[in-house]
Symmetry: C2
Subunit: 409 residues, 2 copies
């Protein structure tokens, strides 16, 4: 059961002019399951992506990087579930390449104009033949209003589809933004999560796209964690189809640039948080806000130490205000000159620790009340500077163990 995450609202999933989506059941790992998705982009779209920093990055991630760098102009994206094509060596690269060639052949474009994405089990050979056999059906299915179907087709252990949209006025034109994402384990994105796709009909020059993707990822996907495991396949791709009737945005600092970025960040953040809300076994959604640091980086370091502590996560699962576990995680986060006497801890509005010790006014019932909620904010004040940062995570439950002990069986 995801935490406060309703099913996507179809009326918010705006078709994006210049983007058509088709899906099919290719039987990649299991039968009777939507597992293959094709995005078709009109010529002239600006496209950028950010990808996992995992050194064991998957074959499709390597191919995506090469194809984006070629400057050929992306015209299609091909996404399969059921197989991650990671840990597959040279053969994996060849197979990812073959799927691009197959789709390019059908569309009369070059293979460099196709971006491939895979998610699923690691270290199994990608069944290229089944993907090739499914392409015709996926292409026949392609329509502009298929965002929800795509959100469903990229799910793996996700329990609910994740799709959000927004509209914003840019230079007098109403611009649409729609995005989808999937989780739900091996989630501690380090550039972005496998997989997030967002498109807009706004007009954004290709030169700005990489900066936009990076900044959006930094404020959304790069701030969530389920289990601290950075996936081999994390990919976040941004498409601007340049169809809307406004002057192209040439700077993210312009009024139009800022408006578009804010609207897109809102969608990206919903997509990223949805992954945590539907994190494997999650029963609580936890915002970890660290402030008073010397730098945002050290605030993040502390926030991740808390977010990754199995002891903290199980305490949240149990609604147990065993808050010393949070202080312990702050202490081992790796800030060498941290002075515990400067640290305050809050749980929502409850002031738990003062200057490194228990707040004399703190009462266990108050902590208990907050811990029982399904949405909790942990606020740590380091007392050594002005910087701050926030990370979103979930608890660690029996279901996390069950899901990951049974994943392949």
């Amino acid at each position: 059961m995801p935490v406060n995450l309703p099913a996507p609202n179809p009326s918010e999933l705006f078709p994006i002019a210049g983007v058509r989506i088709g899906i099919t059941e290719a039987g990649i790992r299991k039968a009777n399951r939507k597992d293959l998705t094709v995005f078709l982009l009109d010529a002239g779209a600006s496209v950028s992506g950010v990808f996992t920093q995992n050194r064991f990055c998957a074959a499709p991630v390597q191919v995506c990087r090469t194809h984006l760098a070629s400057g050929a102009g992306v015209r299609a994206m091909l996404i399969n579930t059921g197989n991650a094509n990671a840990g597959t060596g040279q053969e994996g690269l060849a197979r990812a390449q073959r799927t691009c060639e197959a789709l390019a052949g059908k569309l009369a474009i070059s293979p460099e104009q196709v971006l491939p994405f895979s998610t699923g089990v690691i270290m199994e050979p990608l069944p290229v033949d089944r993907i090739e056999a499914g392409l015709d059906a996926a292409l026949a299915d392609a329509r502009e209003d298929h965002w929800l179907r795509a959100a469903e087709a990229i799910m793996t252990t996700d329990t609910i589809a994740k799709a959000f949209g927004a509209q914003v006025k840019i230079g007098g034109a109403l611009v649409s933004i729609t995005g989808i994402s999937k989780g739900a384990g091996m989630i501690r994105p380090n550039m972005a999560t496998m997989l997030g796709f967002m498109a807009t009909d706004a007009c954004v020059s290709q030169t700005l796209m990489q900066q936009l993707a990076r900044e959006l990822a930094e404020g959304s996907f790069n701030r969530v964690t389920v289990d601290g495991d950075t996936s081999t396949n994390d990919s976040f791709v941004l498409v601007a189809t340049n169809k809307a009737a406004h002057a192209p945005i040439d700077s993210l600092d312009s009024a139009d640039g800022q408006a578009l970025k804010a609207a897109m960040l809102g969608v990206a953040r919903q997509l990223a948080q949805a992954i945590v809300r539907d994190g494997e076994g999650a029963t609580k959604f936890i915002s970890i806000q660290v402030e008073g640091g010397k730098s945002a980086a050290e605030c993040r370091q502390v926030a991740y130490a808390i977010a990754h502590s199995p002891l903290v996560k199980t305490a949240f699962f149990a609604s147990d205000p065993n808050l010393g576990r949070i202080l312990a995680a702050v202490g081992y986060a790796g800030i060498d000159d941290l002075d515990q006497a400067g640290i305050d801890l809050y749980l929502d509005d409850v002031h738990v620790a003062v200057k490194g010790g228990r707040n004399p006014a703190y009462r266990e019932e108050d902590g208990q009340r907050v811990m029982k909620q399904s949405e909790i904010t942990v606020r740590v004040v380091l007392g050594r500077g002005q910087a701050q940062d926030t990370v979103w995570t979930c608890d660690l439950s029996h279901d996390y163990v069950t899901i990951n002990a049974d994943y392949r069986s």
Copy 2:
């Protein structure tokens, strides 16, 4: 159920001349439970300790450091379970100090000659009155052959007492070594684990003791992890009572020094591994051996990334050879210039991955066979140097969640 960890063998727990141990039930947190232990050391013992690197270190750890640095000569150690006296601020320091004063008063020594240790719940005030009230009974209980009782009295969520001993000839004299330790959660020692105590009647100058403690911890407690949570209270203390009939050891590089260190390391490693074997919810004992690195530090970094990955740990629990999860952890361990094409992976004798991809000869049944064992060696070859290191860990099971969700209730 601990993993291949029998109950301590009383005939291996050698009394150490000059060390007497008394325990009692002080009712610190729960009634009818041995929870207070006193070690009494004859004058002239050499004592050293290594302590947690957690910046939120507990009050007793701070007091231990001060008292050891005072050079007053340690004559007693006072250990309580049920309360960690961590996250307790200035008041916690005062309380730790008061327990030292109380014991010192009864022994007619100075408070600086007492080392205090606490383990249990964090952020609760230490019940000094109950500790003081229990001292007489603990002192009346003091005997040289009470090592097993002490091992039992320092347990918290441990399911079995941990105590080992050894004897070794040094300079013609038979020297005894006995040690105890406890876990079982919040275990990723960074100097040593809460709590390890070892004593020997060997003659070791005080000037060598700190080096000896550090080197022993590096080869034992600092190589184990249960959940990656470095405790606020980790303490590993070494006592040499200087009672044995041999010339004092003046260098760890001498023949005698090497012999003593090897024997002590053997005991320390058993104590440290026992903590993992009895790790919260553990069903498997896993050695993670990383070799072919540029430095031991980077090998350790990779080993810990694997050892802390919840996905890897749940796969071990499930006996599921989902080995791509190990490759993914290698990839995100933080070695920026790591080339996945250089990496091989073995599970015991089974060669799973070759040059970053699946070994064509690898068969799932072979991986499955090893994963079902209760003792497993994961061997990662980085292919970029000659360094190596090993870390010991356990799996992540339902019981870990249960234990830590219910710990305080």
